[in-house]
């Protein structure tokens, strides 16, 4: 059952990602991105990362995607047709990207990845929280500086010229 679900989610995620990448209507692309991000969140669940799945949904779909949609609204006529480059350009890009993909695929197949079998943890939030307060305290604080800089920057840029 979970196997089937996994493949279904895979198909959905990749499929919607294709739409994100290829659809000529930017708005539809954005909507497809929602689906993709949901799919990814589902994978997080499969991967025993329920907290992150939640974060994914909240921040990505609730935050970033809305931001992107705003961006689309503010800057574009929705039906702008040629949001992609020429077919020729796309062809070259496809070749290059396929190259990257095959390299990655080769790598995935060839590498003896770590396999340490483990029980599903009872809870993840606590572990993450503890890590954030101990080992990753500094990154956690740095992230705040990062946010501050983004805040200042975004405000500076979007402020009406004085």
């Amino acid at each position: 059952m979970s196997e089937l679900l996994f493949w279904f989610m895979t198909a959905m995620t990749i499929g919607s990602a294709l739409i994100v990448v290829l659809h000529s209507n930017l708005f539809y692309s954005a909507l497809a991105l929602v689906v993709t991000l949901f799919g990814v969140a589902a994978f997080y669940v499969f991967l025993w990362a329920d907290f992150l799945a939640g974060v994914q949904v909240f921040i990505y779909i609730g935050g970033i995607l809305i931001l992107i949609l705003f961006g689309i609204m503010l800057t574009n006529k929705i039906s702008s047709v040629n949001i992609s480059h020429s077919k020729f350009h796309q062809g070259i890009a496809a070749v290059i990207v396929m190259g990257i993909f095959s390299i990655l695929g080769w790598m995935i197949l060839k590498t003896p990845w770590l396999h340490i079998v483990q029980q599903e943890p009872s809870q993840t939030v606590g572990r993450i929280g503890r890590l954030l307060m101990t080992e990753y305290l500094l990154p956690f604080e740095v992230a705040s500086v990062l946010l501050l800089s983004a805040l200042i920057g975004a405000a500076m840029l979007s402020r009406k010229a004085n």
Binding site: V20, Y44, L47, N76, H85, F101, W113, T124, L157
Partner: protein, 101 residues
């Protein structure tokens, strides 16, 4: 193919699609969406390695930071895009090419 590799393949596919979007999209926002795909693919990797590498929560933390970063990047990028739009009335990436040569 074991489970880990499945996830890795999914991540690789998302990564490639993200790259494809970054390369081929003319619209800056669409390019940004490609970047989001790339970041997500990395996150899938992190969590997959976490899950199969002995439930290593470091990967979770990393993914968390990546999500924060994604938000920051999106905010700043959109601010820049909108600013550019105010000046150019267009956000097509290839039209912004005063700076060549």
């Amino acid at each position: 193919m074991d489970q880990l590799q499945n996830y890795l393949f999914i991540a690789a596919a998302l990564f490639s699609l993200g790259l494809f979007a970054v390369i081929t999209r003319r619209n800056a926002v669409a390019v940004l969406m490609g970047v989001e795909l790339i970041l997500n693919s990395a996150n899938v990797n992190f969590l997959a390695f976490s899950r199969f590498g002995g439930m290593n929560f470091n990967g979770h933390v990393f993914a968390l930071f990546v999500i924060i970063m994604a938000a920051v990047e999106a905010a700043v990028a959109l601010a820049i895009i909108i600013n550019l739009y105010n000046n150019y009335q267009s956000i097509n990436v290839d039209e912004a090419s005063q700076l060549k040569r």
